[in-house]
């Protein structure tokens, strides 16, 4: 009897612990935000950011300057057309004006991401403002915003930006983001407007209206939190579009020219016939990094789809 009590005690304790663990695990799987696609995608993007930040400390970012390294060196373990082998001091090789590829990637990748994020943050802010105004206020406001968004969504950003940059001249990273943001607000505006329209007559919004909440409060304190998964999804989608457009401009030789971006590196590679000289590392490595970046963004987007659309989760 005396002995059995503590045994019983530990048994129940262990049981309780197991139950608690099971519950915790169930809860963890119940959070749609923890789905593997979203986590992998976020991991990739954070990895690229980390690569850019840590790289600046561990590697010498000054090697992006022209003539700071030997010319046309292949990556470590490969040979270029002149039969030179790679060296440990430039592990990813160098290009034809003596810039170190690793340094270019370290400095260029965060710049490329930064352009996309700036453009999308500004675009998103306008999208939220306009989408809510259109959906919630309605009437004439809605008509004007809807028509402008519909009209602007068909204008290809690349063409207008080509005109802009060829006539006004060179831009910096920040300016590039601001310019791109002019084309990034349309799709969030349309999406948010549609969502707000469908939510406007729902119970809790009516409740808030009845209890005398101000329009601003209803819009941003009641409705906005419900839109968070959509907003994230839309944000990632426009980040992707912005980066694609920026890389497009850069491969045409436009865009920021004094700071390295991944697109700019590719432009210089094509322009110097790196393909013919078989300098695959010059255009291939930035291409690969961009591809990884886009795959990461795609995975985040697919993961967010699962968050906002529960039907997809079981499939």
């Amino acid at each position: 009897m005396v002995e059995s009590v503590p045994a019983d005690d530990t048994a129940t304790a262990a049981e309780a612990k197991a139950a608690w663990r099971r519950e915790k695990r169930l809860k963890r799987f119940d959070t749609p935000w923890m789905n593997p696609k979203l986590l992998t995608g976020a991991g990739i993007i954070l990895g690229i950011l980390f690569f850019g930040l840590i790289g600046r400390i561990l590697w010498n970012p000054d090697l992006v300057f022209i003539g700071s390294a030997p010319l046309n060196l292949p990556p470590l373990g490969f040979e270029n057309l002149r039969g030179e082998g790679g060296s440990i001091s430039h592990p990813l090789g160098t290009q034809s004006s003596g810039r170190d590829l690793l340094a270019l990637l370290i400095v260029g990748a965060p710049n490329t991401l930064f352009i996309g994020v700036i453009a999308s943050l500004i675009g998103m802010a306008f999208g939220i403002l306009l989408g809510f105004s259109a959906g919630f206020i309605g009437g004439r406001t809605d008509d004007v915003i809807r028509v402008i968004a519909d009209v602007m969504i068909t204008i290809p950003p690349l063409m207008v930006l080509i005109v802009f940059q060829t006539s006004i001249g060179e831009v910096g990273i920040l300016m590039m983001g601001v310019l791109l943001s002019g084309f990034m607000w349309q799709s969030p505006t349309r999406l948010i407007r549609a969502q707000v329209l469908s939510m406007r007559e729902s119970g809790y919004v009516r409740m808030a209206r009845l209890s005398g909440a101000s329009t601003f409060d209803i819009m941003f304190k009641e409705m906005l939190p419900n839109l968070v998964p959509y907003l994230f999804g839309s944000f990632i989608a426009i980040v992707t579009t912005a980066i694609v457009t920026a890389v497009g401009l850069e491969t045409l030789g436009l865009g920021p020219q004094r700071v390295p971006t991944l697109g700019r590196v590719i432009y210089e590679a094509i322009d110097s016939a790196a393909l013919l000289q078989n300098m695959w590392w010059w255009w291939g490595l930035p291409t690969l990094l961009l591809a990884i970046m886009f795959i990461g963004l795609l995975l985040i987007n697919l993961g967010l789809d699962e968050v906002s659309n529960p039907k997809l989760r079981k499939v």
Partner: protein, 342 residues
């Protein structure tokens, strides 16, 4: 309401779409006109600078400058310039190229446009067919396991812009394996015309650019199609068809795909702008004779009239495709009746 669907497109819807189309073109044209006016560079002086760099020095520079200003209409008030510009756009008159003086820009555009359109129609149709087929097979129950793994794996390319896939394909098939020519849209030694040699050369040069677009766009259609197929699959009429014992393949094509494909057409209208500009960048990489190369050369030469004209044409093309898709949609899907809103 029922009457409206029989007579085709209701007038109100048509008017609405046409208005959006004209507004799009007008706003885009205006933006393209305003931006260069903000620039500190004077096109007449730029032109004179080009002459001076060719000849060493220019006599009567002031006289020529004034002449050029009159010729470009730069001495007139701004509003008058704007309306002249709009009137000229209607007849596709974009002025003359500065780099290839005095070739009219419209002539250069007319030479480049068939290449771009040909490549685009070709690659877009292939991507649409492959993508929708892949999406349908992904969702279909009878699909072999191999395909269920292979198709999603191929879709990783969806997220990559076509310039990157173009570079990879170009390196692999042109530079390394040398199966396809590196650049250009037809061989150096063939004469353009309706002869087999030329047609073969065009196909040979067009394969890689088209492929690089198809590889990255088919996944978009496949993803959409898969989603639509999974909803169609559980519909009653599909269950009934199965219960009747119809062949699975017959059900797939006649019952499922035909219903699932409709929203894909709408998605097409939204996607077309990105497709066009993506292709222009591919053309630039492959030095394909279309708009992409024209634009790139114009950027290098600071040939502003060409850039303006080409941008206008691309924007017009995009807006027109959206309009066309919107207008043919009711004919593809008879259930859609165009009421007032969307």
């Amino acid at each position: 309401m029922a009457g409206a669907s029989k007579t085709g497109i209701p007038l109100k819807y048509l008017a609405n779409r046409l208005l959006t189309f004209f507004l799009t073109v007008l706003i885009a044209a205006t933006v393209i006109w305003i931006i260069p006016r903000l620039s500190p560079v004077d096109p007449a002086e730029a032109m004179l600078g080009r002459m001076a760099s060719g000849a060493g020095f220019v006599e009567n520079a002031d006289q020529i400058l004034a002449d050029l200003r009159t010729r470009f209409g730069l001495d007139e008030p701004l509003w008058k310039q704007y309306f002249t510009y709009l009137r000229n756009l209607l007849v596709f008159d974009f002025g003359v190229s500065v780099a290839n003086f005095p070739t009219p820009v419209s002539q250069m555009l007319a030479a480049a446009l068939p290449w771009t359109l040909g490549l685009m129609i070709f690659s877009v149709i292939i991507a649409f067919v492959i993508g929708n087929a892949a999406g349908a097979y992904m969702a279909w129950q009878e699909t072999p396991k191999v395909w269920k793994v292979a198709i999603p794996a191929a879709m990783i390319f969806t997220s990559i812009p076509p310039i990157l896939s173009g570079l990879l394909l170009m390196w692999l098939f042109s530079a390394q394996l040398q199966w396809f020519p590196l650049t250009g849209s037809y061989g150096l030694f063939v004469t353009p015309g309706w002869n087999w040699e030329f047609i073969f050369s065009v196909i040979e040069h067009g394969t890689l650019p088209a492929l690089s677009i198809v590889v990255v766009t088919f996944g978009f259609w496949a993803l959409g199609m898969r989603g639509l197929m999974t909803t169609v699959q559980s519909e009653d009429y599909v269950q009934l068809a199965r219960a009747k014992g119809l062949r699975p393949r017959y059900i797939l094509y006649r019952y499922m795909v035909r219903n699932a494909i409709l929203p894909q057409v709408t998605a097409f209208a939204l996607k077309i702008g990105l497709l066009v500009t993506g292709q222009i960048l591919v053309e630039r990489i492959f030095s394909y004779n279309g708009m992409g190369k024209l634009i790139y050369d114009a950027i290098l030469n600071q040939d502003f009239a060409v850039i303006q004209g080409a941008s206008y044409i691309v924007i017009l093309m995009t807006a027109a495709s959206v309009l066309i898709v919107d207008l043919i949609y009711p004919f593809i899907d008879p259930r859609i009746r165009h009421g007032g809103n969307n």
